[in-house]
Amino acid sequence: MKSQVGSPAVAFALADTAGTVHRVEQFRGRWLLMVFHRHLG
């Protein structure tokens, strides 16, 4: 997989466990680290 450094972040709209939907746009202006889990154990 080619590195995506420098590319725009992939758009997403995902709900968290409380049902709140998060979108990549809401993080504009701040640094965001997305930690993709493997399985939750």
Partner: protein
Amino acid sequence: MRRHEEQVEKLGLEIAVVTFEARERAEEYVRETGLRWPLLIDRRRGLYSAYGMGRGRWSAIWGPATWWVYIQLIGRGHRLKRPTGDIHQLGGDVLVDPAGRVALHHVGKGPADRPAIAALLERVRQGQRDSR
């Protein structure tokens, strides 16, 4: 990452954890671990796929590096459980800058393959210095 919470907060770094597992399991995980950051549920693995996080090879999933991670966890007092869920799904880390561009993109080859937290935090610090 949680051991570095103070530095994360000081940097103003937002964290979103992503899982492909079902909501019930994700809720259970948050209860078990006290996770403070949002755990986003990507059941269709669309975001995983968009960032190239597919399925790992058996040798990478169960290789020596993985066993070393588990040994360290046991040494820190963690109790290991039989893994559940899709153990072949790869994870990774994606750091996005304030302009919405990918600043770091890491696809783990196996469970032990993650960028060092210190390196991630330093990348953010460097970005903040560069933007002044």
